[in-house]
């Protein structure tokens, strides 16, 4: 299909007077996702930093929300484009914890797992192995705490089409696959990703009963890495009980991501 092309990246666009979106690339991938996080950190270091109220990294973009009353925002387009041009030559480090989350795959919790295995021409067992490979949570968005992830190593990635007509309801804790992205449904919500499993633990908790939710109702931050570890029905129930009783201990390892030019590494 031939057609018009979108304006080339990078480009910045004001959305009203308060929001500015920077599109970095048209290529979905780990480098684009990490670049969005790099831009987020780099912009905060500029004179625009004081005007930033919020920022949302996308897979290939960064949305910034400013206090539009501050005059520095008049120069935001120029400053952001300058940061993007300089960023490729800079080294940036950001927090990238390794969080292991228990998941029950298949059966009632993952009714679309068989379809996903078939779509990727492999056995269900192989599909579950792939689903347990490390994920990069590049976006935490849509609903509170909902993590959108891509495989850290794209050769492990599975892929499946989204529902042609989205569900009106997705159970809390559902692990979904759409395209080559994994989504963790943090609250019950509509959804279109194939349902492959269910988290045994919450990733969003407005009432801070468990320690990781004391500072924030959301567990996962953009840039974190996740392992969606398979557990059986018995373990799933035991973990659920521990969560309910308030003594579940999350497996969260500290870590940092380093983006040097186009090279990504973790420590």
């Amino acid at each position: 299909m031939s057609g018009v092309s979108l304006a080339p990246e990078p480009r910045v666009t004001w959305c009203g007077e308060e929001y500015l979106i920077a599109h970095l690339s048209a290529n979905f991938g780990l480098y684009s996702a990490a670049s969005a996080l790099r831009l987020q950190h780099a912009v905060e270091q500029t004179e625009l930093g004081e005007a930033i109220i919020d920022s949302i990294p996308g897979w290939c973009s960064l949305l910034l929300r400013f206090d539009s009353r501050l005059p520095v925002t008049d120069d935001a387009e120029e400053i952001v484009l300058g940061v993007i041009a300089a960023a490729e030559k800079q080294t940036v480090e950001f927090e990238s914890r390794l969080i292991t989350l228990p998941v029950s795959y298949g059966d009632d919790f993952g009714p679309d797992l068989d379809f996903v295995a078939q779509a990727n021409e492999m056995s269900v067992r192989e599909a579950v192995e792939r689903l347990q490979e490390v994920q990069f949570a590049g976006m935490v968005s849509f609903t509170p705490g909902m993590a959108n992830c891509m495989w850290l190593d794209s050769k492990n990635a599975l892929s499946a089409p989204k529902y042609s007509s989205p569900r009106t309801y997705t159970p809390l804790g559902t692990v979904g696959l759409g395209g080559s992205s994994i989504a963790l449904y943090s609250v019950p919500s509509p959804g279109g990703f194939q349902m492959v499993g269910r988290l045994a633990v919450p990733v969003y908790s407005p009432d801070p009963v468990l320690p990781p939710f004391e500072k924030s109702p959301t567990l996962i931050s953009p840039g974190d890495r996740l392992v969606l570890a398979s557990v059986d029905a018995e373990e799933f129930e035991e973990i659920g009980n521990a969560v309910a009783e308030g003594h579940y201990e999350f497996d969260i390892q500290p870590g940092r991501c380093r983006l040097d030019g186009k090279d990504l590494s973790w420590t």
């Binding site: 299909m1 031939s2 057609g3 018009v4 092309s5 979108l6 304006a7 480009r11 666009t13 004001w14 959305c15 009203g16 007077e17 308060e18 929001y19 979106i21 599109h23 048209a26 290529n27 979905f28 919020d54 920022s55 949302i56 990294p57 996308g58 897979w59 290939c60 973009s61 960064l62 949305l63 929300r65 539009s68 976006m139 935490v140 968005s141 849509f142 609903t143 509170p144 705490g145 909902m146 959108n148 089409p161 989204k162 395209g179 080559s180 992205s181 943090s186 609250v187 919500s189 969003y204 407005p206 924030s216 109702p217 959301t218 931050s221 953009p222």
Partner: protein
């Protein structure tokens, strides 16, 4: 927003601010938001209240009271509010403000996330709302009728800036978008306003496999409040203050801050049209709103000083 929690806050931020200014309250203290329909409230103590935004024909013990002004009410009196005859979102403020729980820097209730406001949920019959200590005694009267009409009446035009995926729409359909009347669908809420009216034609855009298969699919990106997105190539949706913080549909534009508040006074069935402005126009519109609110603030401050002087 970085964790998927929408910005939230009053749907009509201007009407909410006006309520607190009329009552001489501290900035941002909680008021009660009502959409389309009000309710019946029994006063448990003597206090001053003010209503702004949509006109739900408020009555105290059957006697109509004015919106946009402070009203003295006594314990045992009943405030009754009906269906909004004009506008949509109404705000009930009390001198001092209501007691509410703060979550992530906001007192507003985010129902989907179960946080903020009154136990993270909508009010139910029998709930008791408590007031905070008033800062001063507000002046009884109508210090803001003119400003209320200017700021809170339903708009006929919503202004927007051009969206980040403007190339998805050809010049003809873009022009049509800016001259056509759109109607607010009943399937609208704090998350989004669905519109009835012509959907702009979609240009076939060069895609990668990651863009998605729908005609207006884009790679998932952050959503600005006020974004006008074309969902599935079939529906025009304006994102409200409780919108999903990211999405994957092309945006033809984004409603300016001043008019995101005004959008809240468009009840289902209301018609309006879009008008393009640039960022300077958006900032100017915001300045105009701020000037009107400042007039109320100064008047309210002068009256408070005057009554304090008389008391002394």
């Amino acid at each position: 927003m970085a964790s998927g929690v929408p910005p939230g806050g009053a749907a009509d931020l201007t009407a909410f601010r006006l309520t607190n200014l009329i009552l001489g309250n501290h900035k941002g203290v909680p008021a009660l938001e009502m959409a389309l329909v009000g309710g019946v409230f029994e006063m448990l103590v003597d206090c001053f209240i003010a209503l702004t935004g949509g006109d739900m024909a408020p009555c105290i013990d059957g006697r109509p009271i004015e919106i946009g002004s402070a009203v003295r009410v006594r314990a045992g009196q009943r405030l009754e509010l009906g269906v909004a005859a004009t506008g949509c979102f109404a705000y009930l403020g009390v001198a001092g403000g209501f007691e509410a729980s703060e979550s992530l820097g906001s007192f507003s209730t985010y129902v989907e996330g179960g946080i903020g406001g009154f136990s993270g949920r909508a009010l139910q019959a029998g709930d008791v709302l408590r007031g905070l200590e008033p800062k001063s005694t507000p002046e009884v009267g109508a210090p803001a009728a003119e400003e209320h009409a200017e700021l809170c009446s339903p708009p006929s035009v919503l202004r927007f800036t051009r969206g980040p995926q403007i190339e998805y729409f050809n010049a003809r359909s873009y022009r049509q978008f800016t001259v056509t009347a759109y109607r607010v669908s009943p399937r609208s809420n704090r998350m989004g306003y669905r519109l009835e009216g012509p959907v702009p034609d979609i240009e076939p855009v060069e895609r990668t496999r990651d863009t998605g298969s729908g005609p207006t699919d884009v790679i998932e990106e952050g959503n600005a409040v006020g974004s006008i997105q074309i969902a599935g190539g079939t529906e025009v949706i304006c994102l409200g203050r409780d919108c999903g913080t990211s999405g994957a549909y092309a945006k033809i534009g984004c409603i300016i801050g001043a008019d995101v508040s005004r959008m809240a006074q468009l009840a289902p069935g209301s018609e309006f049209r879009f008008e393009e402005v640039d960022r300077a126009g958006a900032l100017e519109a915001l300045d105009r709103q701020a000037e009107a609110l400042d007039r109320v603030r100064h008047r309210s401050g002068e009256l408070t000083r005057l009554s304090a002087g008389l008391a002394a």
